[in-house]
């Protein structure tokens, strides 16, 4: 019609293509990054990158958790504020059935079930708890669910803490000490090689013990990569399936979804249970890698961190959520951990060294900066919701719903169709 419209149309089409490719770009970068990370950490630390690799494996746990919570919050639009409870249930399931903990319990029997079986068992146990909690509460309105999950998230760590030595029904969970000396994953045989560090000879190792310092933490790193990849494939397929479309329908308009023949309670329950099962999966791996589970690792802050990862990355978009998880993990375990020291160094460098001394309610720059994490977390949540509710890397559909509104979306569709 006129040139301006034409130009904006071209721009839109170009932008559209870039958007379409973005997820593929993110995945490609993530895969390259993940494959190169061990070498990268070795090079940057001068051959002692094990610590970094181990931290990266921990980051993988959070990626798993974020992918799982994304199913609940991003796909189905249910706010789960007690997600760490399912994480705890997964971790404790593995810890109880793969350590000598239960020999001290009234059962007096200890179990040492293999990790690979327990991955599925932990998943199933967590999903069952999700279903038990969800079944009666998912009929309620959405924000009641948030508070019920919050309550559940508070109850679970307290019960694990309570059931230690001195509880009226015996020592089951080790109480405040948690459960230690958990079995590492084992394989009957595996092939070692350069992927466990430069110079490792290629040969068959039998039996293969993951905690062996020859390949730990590298083996845990590869293991979590495989688990994450499996989960991504699973969740992507779910998202594109009939169930995934039903989740979206329920999220956008529950009444309309019900009128279209979707059993909304069942579909929400499914999202809740599947989300919980991923947390159980991640918990099992987490317990095996740390070889220690303790109730304080599953407090409310953990649930909120995972929520922040999902919200920041872009609710509903899997690669976005993965990037969100990695970003927040980096901020939490790297930036916020090292920031106090940097701040002190910076203050000394510019002649503000007096800030490092404490006095009155001022506890010195180091400790004051250390206390920043609450504000940073809260600020991210509020800021993202106000300024960019679709998150940093939103899914295309979700972005339109949240920002452009439905009217404009319709116009957009017609233009696409007449193209």
């Amino acid at each position: 019609m006129n040139r301006r419209l034409l130009r904006s149309d071209t721009a839109m089409r170009w932008a559209n293509r870039a958007f379409k490719d973005r997820n593929r770009t993110i995945y490609t970068l993530l895969i390259i990054g993940a494959l190169l990370f061990p070498s990268f950490s070795d090079v940057t630390t001068g051959g002692s990158g094990n610590h970094l690799v181990s931290t990266a494996a921990d980051a993988g746990v959070y990626v798993l958790l974020a992918i799982g919570l994304n199913v609940v919050v991003g796909f189905a639009g249910l706010l789960d504020l007690g997600y760490a409870a399912f994480f705890a249930i997964g971790a404790y399931s593995y810890a109880l059935l793969a350590s000598s903990q239960l020999s001290g319990s009234p059962l007096h029997v200890e179990f040492h079930l293999p990790f690979w079986v327990m991955l599925l068992v932990a998943m199933f146990v967590a999903a069952s708890f999700g279903a038990i909690l969800g079944a009666p509460t998912l009929r309620l309105r959405g924000d009641y669910l948030a508070i019920v999950t919050l309550g559940f998230g508070e109850i679970v760590p307290r019960i694990f803490r309570f059931l230690g030595a001195g509880s009226p029904i015996g020592n089951w969970t080790g109480g405040v000490n948690g459960i230690s000396a958990i079995d590492p994953p084992k394989l009957p045989a595996f092939v070692s090689g350069p992927w466990f560090g430069v110079g490792t000879p290629i040969r068959v190792v039998s039996p293969f013990d993951f905690s062996d310092s020859n390949w730990s933490p590298m083996d845990y790193y590869w293991l979590v990569l495989i688990l994450v990849a499996v989960c991504i494939v699973l969740v992507t397929n779910l998202h594109n399936s009939r169930i995934g479309r039903a989740w979206m329908a329920v999220r956008e308009d529950e009444v309309a979804a019900a009128a279209s023949g979707i059993n909304t309670v069942a579909i929400k329950l499914l999202a809740f249970a599947i989300g919980a099962s991923f947390a159980g999966f991640a918990g099992c791996y987490y317990g095996a890698k740390l070889s220690l589970v303790s109730s304080e690792n599953f407090e409310f802050v953990v649930s909120v961190s995972i929520l922040i990862m999902v919200v920041l990355g872009g609710m509903g978009n899997i690669p976005g959520v993965i990037l969100g998880a990695l970003t927040i993990f980096f901020v939490q375990f790297f930036v916020l951990t090292n920031l106090p020291d940097y701040a002190v160094a910076a203050a000394n460098a510019v002649g503000l060294g007096f800030l490092n001394n404490s006095g009155g309610t001022w506890v010195g720059l180091h400790d004051e900066v250390q206390r920043l994490n609450y504000i940073v977390f809260g600020g991210i949540l509020v800021g993202v919701m106000l300024l960019r509710p679709q998150g940093l890397f939103p899914s295309k559909i979700r972005e339109q719903e949240l920002e452009k509104g439905t009217a404009e979306e319709a116009v957009f569709d017609i233009r696409e169709a007449t193209d």
Partner: protein, 360 residues
């Protein structure tokens, strides 16, 4: 959820207890539900507590007094939850931290008047405390209004998930501010109230502190009742809670009314925070998280959106906490309270005196 009868005004049931029960009956699935809920609760409590009470009546009475004082503080927090929920259907996660902030804001003011643990109790102290409380109530209320303006109002028409997430974020920010300000440890609040106790025949004793806490809570709740029942703004609040659009058509300034609700809720929580500080003499930056959750439980138990319900619920939660700490496993007290929350939401989301919650 209950059926039949027109939904009552959420903040309405203010006249008398009888009037409140009458209003509730029409809203719920018959009075049977209310009475079986109430009866079941009382039955469970009496089965659990009667043997203990008979064994040592004085100790029981002592715990009862402590529980009521404790519950009075929960009630003050629960009112803010219930009012905000009644008017914009938001679980304001930051409300518990507004409560803690009240105590934290009072600390420098109390220090300004030179009050310490050794300050003798006098009429002057009462006046200063009242002044400090009034100032803190205004400041804390103002902060809550600012939070509403910045973080909640822009999202009022956004998907519900968005505003809930912002509320969690605001809670973290408030905790973060108090953490940076005073650190992770317990902060001491000057013990200026008289520590004397009035002996009760049988061995128990009633602390003057207990009386002050209970009386001030009762006064504040009654003032709120009168206010929402009779004042113009109170009527506007009830109208907005019932139907926002219709209220707007009737010329009610919705934004101002909602801001006023946040202000009043925060002012009551701030008073609760100061009372908490004066009663327990210790407060921590994250005290509001658990206290807020308990108060929310209280609001849900009483019937969210219902002022008297919140007050009764607060009392109930305070008693549960006191008895559980004294007679049962103290480590499990929180578990019981959260379990009550979940059970009430599952089996009776309308609570004890609840309103009918519209499905949105």
């Amino acid at each position: 959820m209950g059926a039949g009868g027109p939904p009552p005004l959420p903040l309405e049931q203010v006249a008398t207890l009888a009037g409140a029960l009458k209003g509730t009956r029409s809203a719920l699935s018959g009075s049977l539900g209310t009475w079986s809920f109430l009866g079941g609760t009382i039955l469970i409590l009496s089965v659990l507590l009667l043997p203990k009470a008979v064994a040592s009546p004085a100790f029981f009475l002592q715990i009862l007094i402590y529980g009521v004082a404790n519950g009075a503080i929960f009630a003050l927090i629960a009112l803010g939850y219930t009012m905000v929920y009644g008017i914009i259907e938001l679980i304001n996660f930051a409300h518990g931290d507004i409560f803690t902030l009240g105590a934290f804001l009072a600390l420098p003011l109390v220090g300004l008047f030179g009050m310490t643990d050794s300050t003798p109790f006098s009429f002057g102290v009462v006046l200063i405390l009242l002044l400090v409380t009034a100032v803190v109530m205004v400041i804390d209320g103002g902060i809550n209004v600012a939070i509403e303006r910045l973080a909640y109002r822009p999202l009022r028409n956004a998907p519900r998930l968005a505003i809930l997430i912002t509320a969690v974020g605001m809670s973290f920010i408030l905790e973060g501010v108090m953490y940076i300000w005073r650190g992770a440890n317990n902060v001491h609040f000057p013990d200026v109230l008289p520590g004397s106790r009035i002996p009760i025949p049988g061995g128990a004793s009633l602390g003057v502190k207990d009386v002050i806490v209970i009386v001030s809570a009762v006064i504040l709740v009654s003032l709120l009742n009168v206010f929402t029942g009779n004042s113009k703004l109170g009527k506007a609040m009830r109208a907005t809670a019932q139907d926002r659009e219709a209220a707007q058509l009737m010329g009610i300034n919705i934004n101002r009314t909602i801001a006023a609700t946040f202000f009043i809720g925060a002012a009551l929580a701030a008073a609760g925070g100061i009372i908490f500080g004066l009663y327990f003499n210790n407060i921590r930056f994250d005290e509001g998280f658990t206290a807020g959750l308990f108060a929310f439980t209280a609001a849900v138990f009483g019937g969210i959106g219902n002022i008297q319900g919140a007050a009764l619920g607060g009392l109930f939660i305070g008693l549960v906490q006191a008895f559980s700490n004294a007679y049962f496993q103290a480590a499990l007290t929180d578990v019981w309270i959260f379990a009550i929350l979940i059970l009430v939401l599952v089996f009776r989301p309308t609570g004890l005196l609840g309103m009918q919650v519209p499905e949105k």
